[in-house]
Structure formats: structure tokens, C-alpha cells
Amino acid sequence: MPGKLKAKIVAGRHLPVMDRASDLTDAFVEVKFGNTTFKTDVFPKSLNPQWNSEWFKFEVDDEDLQDEPLQITVLDHDTYSANDAIGKVYIDIDPLLSSEAATVISGWFPIYDTIHGIRGEINVLVKVDLFNDLNRFRQSSCGVRFFCTTSIPLCYRAVVVHGFVEELVVNEDPEYQWIDRIRTPRASNEARQRLISLMSGELQRKIGLKVLEMGGNAVVGYLQCFDLEGESGLVVRAIGTACTLEKLSGGGATNNAQHTANSSPSKDMKESPKACMSGCRSSHSSPVHGAASRLAQSFSVSYPTLLFSGTQGSNRPRPSLRARGASAAQSLASAARQCRPVFGDECPSNPLSSGPSTPLRAPPFTSFSPSKSYSRQSSSSDTDISLTPKTVLFPARLCLYLSPSSPALSSVAPPISCQTSRPPGSGMAPRSTTPPPSHVAQSEVSMLRKSVSFSEDMLLAASGMGSGGSAGKEAGPLKILLRQQTQTALEQREFPFFTLTSFPQGFLLHVAGVVSARSVKLLDRIHNPDEPETRDAWWEELRQEIKSHARALGCHAVVGYSESTSICEEVCILSASGTAAVLNCRFLQDGCLDVLSEHRCDDSAPPGCGFCHVPYDELNMPFPAQLSPCCCCHRTKVPDVLFTTIDLPTDAQVTGKGCLIQARLCRLKKKSQGEGNATCISNLLPFLEYELHTQLLNKLKLCGMNALFGLCIQISVGENMLVGLASATGVYLSALPSPGGIQIAGKTPNDLTYDQHVSSIQRKINDTIVKNRELYEIHITEVAEDVIGSPIPEPRQRSRLFRSHSESSDELSELDLSHGKKDAFVLEIDDTDAVEDLHSLLTDAPTPPGFYSCNTEIMPGIYNWTSAIQMFTSVRVFRLNNANLTNLGLNKIFNELCENLLKSLYFKLRSMVPCCLCRLNFTVAVPEDELIQVAVTAVAMSFHKDQTQEANKAAQAHSQMKAIAETEEQLQFPLELNAESASPLSPKGSGPQDGSNSHGRAPSVDYSSFADRCSSWIEQLRLRAHTIRRGSIKTSSSPLPEGRSRSLRSTRSFPGSSVSVVKMTPLSFIPGAKIVKYLGIINMFFIRETTSLREEGGVSGFLHAFIAEVFAMVRAHVAALGGNAVVSYSMKECVFMENPNKNQAQCLINVSGDAVIFTRESDQEGHLPQTSHPQPTEDTPP
């Protein structure tokens, strides 16, 4: 179905001089969409042209609307020769296709040229009139919203989480087409940019279709990546989690991010009913809402009530499932069919849905009869039945548990009934000796592999999980279609994966540990771009593998799931990793639906420790691990160490603060080609992973911590080396046992000097641990008898320090040795490698005072953030001049590189102290033979030093914070956006008004109908503004009455008015502010090339300028959408290539994030006393 795209070119400014003679430019603009092109008139002899064009109208299919970007080219008119291009702007109009996102794009865009960078700016207005499309065979998926954020977006509530969606698109890389030899670099770059833009549009559309099929309306945790496979093509792939989201109106909006840690139960109580009510009103039928409300209550974020449509079944255990085998699938399907009417019916008047939901509408839910709802639920259960058997089989404490300690690794046994084509082999040793035979060398190494065989039915059950299968709006009434859909949905839903990293409370039941899989592939040319089966199949394998790992850990789901690749020449390493987990809606099972009462913590699993509990029973452990009673509830067992890829759950009980822990490793490898190369790499991989793991574990112990969150292991392949970098945030989980010390011993105990040496090292290590505990405020009272300092730790607390660099057979025997003996600790000081290793362990510089760092969203122990944030990207490339480096030397260099980079960051940001670097995201690459490239993106957020514990102190700090927030506000350009919220005169008095206004207004403003009026108004204003301020900078006062400001944001584009401030952060929230609206996804790809590298300041100058330009373009696009911040920002790709001899360099950058509107909380807190009160710190475990 068609839509009408309208674009208007208003003006340009700061254009470059194109005519040397006159020092001026005769600029005009071409506006292109699809195959239609319009041109503006030439605006002669001006560097600040005012075209003020008519509205250019494109009538197009919405399929095209999704795929194509709007292309705006600014040219210099030349009478005699060809017109010179000044630069281009690509505008992704996707945000306009959703009714809830932006309604108009209007603002100044940098005019970008791939050779010259930004060359002036152009002011553009874009609108879309979209006709409703009811054709169910359509190819478009307009209206599906995309979020990069890996949690439920802050002003939404998840009605249903449907599950994993993935898609990939392939094409030929224009850079490698024959035509590239004859066209200019500019043409080639532009072709590439355009193609990738097209491909990502297509990808989003296709994923959107899948989501619609599942009945969802949004994709959360959308992760899109490019694989530049060189000759073999270009792959754009994406994964995400399909959800049905519902906008929170009213109360929800005032809640703020969890990070201000104000989740006092009373407050939740107060507000959650509101949220529920809105949920009911919107008629998502089904009793499940009762549960939703409960979830909302317990989850301090924003009531993202996560409803798991299927989970209801879980209160009725079905042990039979296991036995029934294939019939399970049938029952699933039929269950799904049954439930269809309930889930599918949107309309509140439908008797079916209105029936059950009635009780829910009663505000306190007390009238709700549990039994009734249950029967209802069980009948409607569909996909998630798998949850049920699981929980039942492993009595209720099945949880995630990650390979707790290195010994576990060695316990890897050959997978017995492996689903995948993984080459048989047990442990690492065999694999290294038997390279996979096929030309596609495979070597999947998982961190943890368990040799558990599982029956078909379990698989099936699991695969159904999370699939939702519930029909969406469109599909609702069409039963037949529905049935088909359910079936396909089930088939597709073979992967119970979630790209989310943080969840509503109660959703995540147990966490078992990290599961990962890698495979090495040889790339070959993609012959038919329309059938990307090979790539699909590769990922399929990998996912299967992951799934089997998760099953081996007794888990039915994988959360915090992500995929990545590393490509060097024709070898490609595909990696997938996630955290095996048991998900559940506990509240739905245990029948206590009335848990709206204050103390919802049900006794079986105290909220702070439940997720750490080991999911399997001791006798049946998937691998050797040391289990001990949970330190919180003393009832269930927990592992001694927990590794995960997710964020720290908000309710986790943590002692002290966390810190960034990194394991860094380089491995040399012989240069080779093709298959040999692939074999070589796959042989190295297990060792690399193993040692990374060891390093992580040792460092974790050194920090005195016992759990890792946000673990991300990257392995990059270069021509002659492999580089591994594992980053995670270490914390001390109160529930887990205190980590033991690290014990050092020599192999030759007779030597006296040696003993001294050993003991001095031991002392050093112990000192470091003590120091670190001090630093991270880990005070453990009950562990008085703890080992620290005592020469002989109790067996249980000992850990091993593995020597990490030897490739000798020796290590293998060590592995075997450790296999059976959990308590063994090996101290091989006489191995020079180990000494070196120890050294590097000890030389990791602690963060300077006032700094903390983590790679997760939340830093435990820090609550009172100020509003000062600084996002940054830093890139370093290291050249290894020394040709004959050893592994050891290489490691040292790499280690130093990372340490220095961190030190630099701390130094740069020293003015923000006390501050925390959050979401420190490291990416390593080996762009060339002897180059290592490390790119870091993170945000520095300062906080108030005094973690006040009492209420009155808190209030003080609060007002202080407010003051700071206000001054900051003043420093910045008052945004029009802030106009409504910034009433600094009487924050208290105006608070309530504002609050109610913003609720009322945000949803009620009819943007589209405003649009026309607005724009004419805007023009008038602009004219006036133009005459008024001639040449003077005015930073203040938008001429608009404050109430209208939001819909008139484009006024910002007045010539002469200042540029609006756009905040950027890799986190999903902005401290001290609430996100009131998500405007759409930002997903941009840029290429920059230069043939005058030296003149642009060398490689550093070139890249510096380019990154700054990328930021500028992101900010401009966000501002044009009407936003004032980008959250969940990330730089996915930064490929830098240089050729200094030719004075050339080229760089590709891909960034993404969510454009949002936020408002400061300062003006609202007057009547929201709890907001951002620091919580009492949890220094002492209960």
C-alpha cells in the first residue's frame, strides 16, 4: 500500500566555496527517493542559500518506504562543466512510519561527503502520510518499532515477549565489483553507503514481518551487524527479541530508571495499580494481566510488565511431557490453537477476552479468584510449556550457573547426542589434534559443555518456549491464518534466545552460566544474493550448539544472547554467546496472585539471591563444581563463581562496588591460506578461550569478587595472530560464597630462595586482594576465618592459578589432573610463563581514586548520579615493530595497550571525579599484519561522593543534585523541549502541573494533524527571527509558548539560533532524567576516505575528524526527529585501513542507538520524594 513521502528543502548554511573566482557557490539540491528525483532551483552566489522549495512528493510503496533512505544531494551548479557534488544526506524515514515515534523530521543535517567530510549543513523537512495497510500478504512491516536497548524500554510495558527473531541479507560488495576499477572513490563509497542503507532497511522490514507474524509490535535488543566479507560479499544480519509493547501512560512515565535505585516497595505499590489499569484497558485480554501487575510492582524500572503468555501452564506440572515425546509438540500446537481466541482478540468487547479480564479491572485485584484464572491460563498456555517441565524436573531451583571455576572447563566431555555437526571430540586436546575434515573447518568451543543427552521432547518443548505464538492485532480474527501462523511460529521458534540483558523482576529465575559457541568458516563467494542459505546455515548450526549447551546446563533459555564475527581474508570466525537461564514467571505458578501486598518476597527464593541458586541438584551436576549453601537464604546451593553475559539484576544483593575485569590474550599463528589457515585457527581457539577464562577467574579472585556480569569475549583473527579480549564487570554477590585467595607454590620446594620468592609473591597477591576489597568496599563480616593472608587456605576456597601460556603437552596433563580433583591448586612458579602471568596479574593498575568502571549498565553501590555524563569513543592502533615476538611478549604489549588506554581515559576524565565509566565497551581488531586496533566506547557519569544513608541527608544531597541539575540546565542551551519542564522559579509549585501536563499532553497531541499548521507557523517564525537577530547569537528563549514546544521542535532550526544539545550514552537511561518518548532507531553507516592523509593530520587527525563527524551526524538526526538524546548508543564497527605510502586512508563506521526525548526530573521531584533517593548501601550482607 502506498504512502506519500513529502520533503521540503528549506535552506543551507556554511556551504563550502565551490567557485574559486567568486568565493561563492551556486547551490541546488536533488532530492531522490527510489527512482524519483526532484530538483530545487539554483540559489546563486551564496554560501547560505535559502531555497525554501515546494514540497516534493513521492508516492511510494511502504515496502520502499522501509527499505529506501531519502537521498539529498547538494550540488554546485556549473554552466559549462558538470555540476560538482558538495555532499549528501541520507535520511532514514523509518521513524516516521510508526505512529508512536516521530511525526516529522525537521532540522539541520550536516552535508556529508565521503572524501571531504562535513561540508556545511542543510535544513530539511520530511513528512510521511501513510495509508493503513490491511493486506495480510503485504511485504512491509511498517509500525513495528525497533529498539537497540537490551531491556524493556523505559516508558513501555511488555505485554508479551515473543522471542528470538533473526534475519540476514547478503549482497555483493560494490567495492569489489568490476566497475569499481573505473569509478571514483567517491562514487564507490557512495554506492556502498547506499547499498548498506538499503540492506539494513530491507533487513528491518523482514524482521518486522517476522515480528508481525508472531503477533508482536516491537523488537527490543535489536542488534544489527555488517560482515564485510571482501570478495565474497557483504552480509547484513540482525537479531532481536520480538515483544508486544504497550506504552505506559500516566504513572509509568514518572517513574525513573532503576539506577536511581529508589525502588522502595511502598512506591511501587502506589503506582503499580495504575499501570495495571492501563494494561487492562488496552484489552490485552486474558487473566494474565493479574500477573502482569504483580510483576510490575516488583520491578522498579517502569512497570515493564513482562507477560509470558505461556507460562501459566507451569503451575500445573506436566511430567508426562517428558515421556510423551513427539506428542508434546502436538499438544503444544493444540494448546496454542485453543488459546488463540483469547490472545488474539484485541477488541475489548469480545466476550471471550472481556470475560476473564473483568476481574482484573478491579483496582486491587483482590477480587480476583486465583483458581479461575488458573484454569483459564492453563487452557491458554501455548509456547512456554517447556518452562513447566523444566521447573518440575529440576525442583524449582534450576538456575543458571556458569562454569563456576576453571576446573569445570576441563571437565568438558564429548557431547553425546549432539544436535549439531560439531566434530566429535572430547575436551580440547582431541580437538586440537583432529582438525575437522571438511573444507568448512569447524571448531565450536563453548566455555562450558556438558555431556548430557536430552530427549527429543525436551528439545521440542524448549524450542517452543518464548515463541509466544500469540497472534497480533492483524491476525486476530482470521483463525485459519492463525493456525498456520502458529505452526510456522512454532517452527521458527526453535531458538529460545533473548537478546535482552535485563529483565523484569521475577522473570529471570535462575542463571546457569555463559554458553558460547564459535565456528571457523571459509568464505566463498555468495553466488545468489537472494538465497543466503550458507550464511543462514552457519548461524543455524551455531545457535543449535548454543541451545544444546544451555540444555546441558539444565536451562531452557539463553538470555543476553549476541552474535559476532571476525573476518580475516577468507577465514571467518562466527561467535555466539549468551547466558543459559531458566526463565519463569514464578508468580504465575505459585498461585499467590495477591502478592500485591508489600512483601512480595516469597520465601522460597528471596529476591536478592534467587537467581544465583544452582538449577541442578548436587548429585547430578553437569560438571564438577563447588556448591555451597546460599549465603543469603542458606537454603539452596549456589556455585562458588557465576559468569553471565547479562546485566546485574536490579534486585541482586551485592556487597560493595563492582569493577571492570579484563582478560587479554594474544596468540601467534602461522600465516597460511585457506583451509590450512582455518584449521590452524580452530586448533588455537580452544586454548585461547580456556586461558581467557583462567585469566578472568584469577583476576576476579584478585579483586575479591565472585561473579561476572556482562561478560563479552571477543576473539579477533589477524594474519599472524589471534587476539582475545574478555571484558566483564566483577561484583561480589552476597549470595555466593566468599572467593578464596590465590595460592602460589613452586614445583621445587627444596630450594630456599625459591620458597622466598614464592612466598613474596604470595604475600603480594594477598595484599592486593586485601587492598582491592578495601577499594571496592567489600566488607564481609562473617568470613572472619577467611583465608586472606593465611598461608594455607581451606581447600574449598582455594583456586588454581593456571599457567596460561604454555602450549606444551604439560598443560594437557594438567587439565586431566584437575579433572577429578576440584580442590587441587597448582602453583607453578618455576615456569617462566607463569611468573610472567602472575606478574601481569599483579601489574594491572587499580583504577585511580574517585574512579570506578564497569561494562554493565548498572554499577552496584553507586546510586546518586548527577546529571553530568560524557560519552566518548577512543581508538588506538598499535604497531608491533618487532617481527619475532613471542606469545609472551605479545601478551605483554597487548596488556599494556589496554592498560594505557584505560589510564588515558581516567586522566582525560579526571575533572568528573568522582565518576564511573559505565558500559566500557572494548573492541579489538587486527586490521593488518602487525597492527592491533582497540576501540572503546563508554560513558563517564559522575556521582555524588557521599552515599548518604539517612533520609534527611539524602534529602540534602537531593537538593544539591537538583541545584547541579539546574545549573547544568542553565549552562546548556535551553531546549525548547525543556521549556515545559524547566520552570526553575518554583519547581515545587509547578511540579504537579507539569507532571500532569506531560502525561496528558504527550499522548494526546495529534502530531500529524499539527504538522501542517506547525510548519507554516515555523516559517513565519523563522522569517521573523531572521529579521530580528541579525548575526547575534541567541542561546535562549524559544519564541514559542511553552506548552506547544514539543510539537514545534523544528523551530530549533532557525538560522542563527543555536544548536540543540543532544546527549549520547551507551546506557539505556539518562541519570536524573526520564525518557518520555522513543523516537526511533538510529542506525547509520558511514565511509570516509582521504587521499591527503598527511594534510589532514595523519591517521589520528583523519580518524579524529571522522568520529567527530559521525557524532555530529547522529546528533543532527536525533535533533531533527525532535529528540534530545541517544540511548543505547554503540559503535558496532570501526574498520580503519591506511596506506601511508599512498597518503591514503579509509574508515568505515557503523553506529546505532535509540533516539529519545527526555525531561529532567528536577522539576518533578518536588512531589515525587522518592525519586533518586540514594538507597541505603548494602554493605553488609544480611
Binding site: E121, S904, K908, L1103
Partner: protein, 424 residues
Amino acid sequence: MSVELDVFVGNTTIMDQEVYQLWLSGYTVGDAVKVRMDGGVLDGCDASAEVLRSDTMDQFRTFQMCERLLHNPAKLANQLLFQIPPDRQAMLIDRYYAFDDAFVREVLGKKLSKGTKKDLDDVSSKTGILLKSCRRQFDNFKRVFKVVEELKGPLVENIRQHLLLSDRLARDYAAIVFFANHRFETGKKKLQYLTFQDFAFCAGELISHWTVGAMDNQLEDMDVDLDKEFLQDLKELKVLITDKDLLDQHKSLVCTALRSKTKVFAEMEASFKNLSRGLINIAAKLTNTKDVRDLFIDLVEKFIEPCRSDRWVTIDVNLYLTHYINSAHILDTFKHQAVWNSLWDELFKMLTDIQHVTVCFLVKMGMVASGASAAAEGTRATAASSEEPVPVHPTQFTTSISFSFRDMLNVGCRAWPHSGSQAC
């Protein structure tokens, strides 16, 4: 093993003021690192020189990229490349356009041409300011000059608006532009003791009284050019020295007024004709561009030096000039010549300025009025001529003398230079 590439880019551009200053001063990265190390920036940080170097490099690069924008400060406010808070922007601009008094003193009144630019290395070695910094300052002068050259309206206001400079800087730049435009001679040895601020004051006076803009406050005014008509009219003043009667009358009037008011009355009486001739001659010659250039040197040679040799103090000069002008008014009434009305206005205008200048000059010479403040002023003035002087603000004098030169009082005086070195 070497760092091949090292960049850091913040969403809000991070700029350290200290590093900015080092960059502006033309330091190389290496030197800047040294200065920062010595400044103790690493104290309390666990960071190496390498870290400092990387930080310095980064910032220097940022500044370099910003420089293009700083050349057109209005652009800085609405460019998109760097996100810089407004207060920082103002800081960047002000610091960028700030200049060293020592440097500007060398260039003041010179043509802002390529030739002058080539001589900057001499200036650099003379003043000790790094060549890079000299170039930046010189280019700034040139840029400002170019921007306001063709603009109508008040000079200071134009500079302030188009370059977003602070008031103080805008006034200084107005002076620089004014001097460069008229190529006033300021480099002569006799003028050496005057600082840039002294000249800036003079420029202010001249701009407000002698230019076209000062004559009529229409929008069309041009502040940069002297009012030709006015200069032409000044020729008429010659009658004061050519007409014997008039000269005598004038002298007797002044002398009557001054008698017993000053210790140097005798000298005053004796040199009246000389001084009057000197002043009027300067005024009458101003139609000639060459003589305009020499205005200051002439003033010093023809008027200030004689005064000084007669050991006048500031108050004396002030008295003398005041009465010189007043008496002329009386002459006017005697003569009842209509033309005089305007003539005396001219004279008044010119002499007021000259009086300011002279007074200033005298202060600098150490020839201050006897009295309580004299000693203090004297010492300060002595010190002033040898090193970078903080000129005693002459407003004090003017106010203390409480003469009828209202506008003089309002404006406050500054120094017009003259052979300073001898005096001290």
C-alpha cells in the same frame, strides 16, 4: 612497538583551558607536555608522561579542528561538528582573539599586509612570543580588519557582533583596526614608552570625536575614517596664530585666567605662542594623510616635550589647555563672527583630545601634580616607562581638576605618547 593512531572524541568536546592556552601560545606538543608536567598536572594521578602526551596531542588536534570555526566565531555557535557548551564557546573565542600587548605594540599602526607578516619572526624574537602565536594574532587583526572594513555602523559594536567578542576585546580591536587603517606612526623611539592601552584609549577618543560616525549618528556612519570635513575646518584655526591681534588677545586671556593659579606661570606665559603655534599647526595639517600618520609624534614633539622641558606638571597642562580653549570661546564672542561658532567646536574637539593625550603623556613622564598622590603616581609612572606599564588611569586627574570639559570628564583620559625615555 609504537602507537600508530590514538584518538579520543567526546560527545561534549573536552577542552582543558590550560592546554588551550599552551596551544594558543604556539607551543609544540612536546613543549606543552613539558610545561604541563612542570605544572604538576600529573600530581595525584597515576599516569605517565605518555598519557599526558596523548592527552595533549588529542586536545591540540581538537583545537586545530576548531580553529577553522574560530576564524568565523558566528559559525562556532551553530556548527554541528563539536558540541561545546556556550560558556565554553565564549571562552574559546575570547582566548583565541586575545593578544599580547607586547606583540600588538609592535604591529600597531602598521599595514596589515603580507610584508608585515613576513617580518613577524623579527617581532617574535624581539618580544619572545612564539612565531606561531604571532601569526595567529596577526591573522586575527587582519581578519577583524577585513570583516569590519566594509561595514557601516559603530566600529566597536560591529566587531562585537560579528566576532562575538567581549566588550573589552572589541574595543581593543577597534583601536587596532583604527590604527591600522590610518597607519598612525607608533613605532618611533619617542613613542616607545606608551603602551597599547594608551593608544587604545587615544583611538577611542578619536573614534568618538573625529570620525564621520561621531559627526552624525545616522546608521550610515563609518567609524573607521576620520571626518574629512572636520579636518578641513581645522585649517581655519590657523587664524589663531596668523592673526597677530588674535594671538595676543588669546594669550592675554589665558594668562589672566592662569595667573596665580600655577607655579609655572612665567614659563607658561613665555611659551604660550610656541605652544599655540605647535598645536594649531598640527591641527591645520591634518588634511594631509602623511601628517595624520605623524599625529602622535608631532604632538609629542611640538607640545608635550616643550611642556616637559618647562617642568610643567599634569595639572598645569590641564589648566593651560582648558583655559586655552575657554579663552578661544571668549575670543569668539568678542569677534562675533558666526564662523567661529563651529570653529571653536572643532578646536574644542581637537584640543580636548589632545588635552587628554597630553595629560596622559605627562603622567607617564612622571610630571604629575604635586600633592598627596603625586609621589605615588610618580613612582608608578617611573616604573611604567621601563617595563610594561600599567598606565595610571588619567581619569583621576581630570576629575580632580574639575574643569568645565564635561565630556572630557565623561570620557576619561589616557596617554598620548611622547618621548618618554628621556623624561625618566
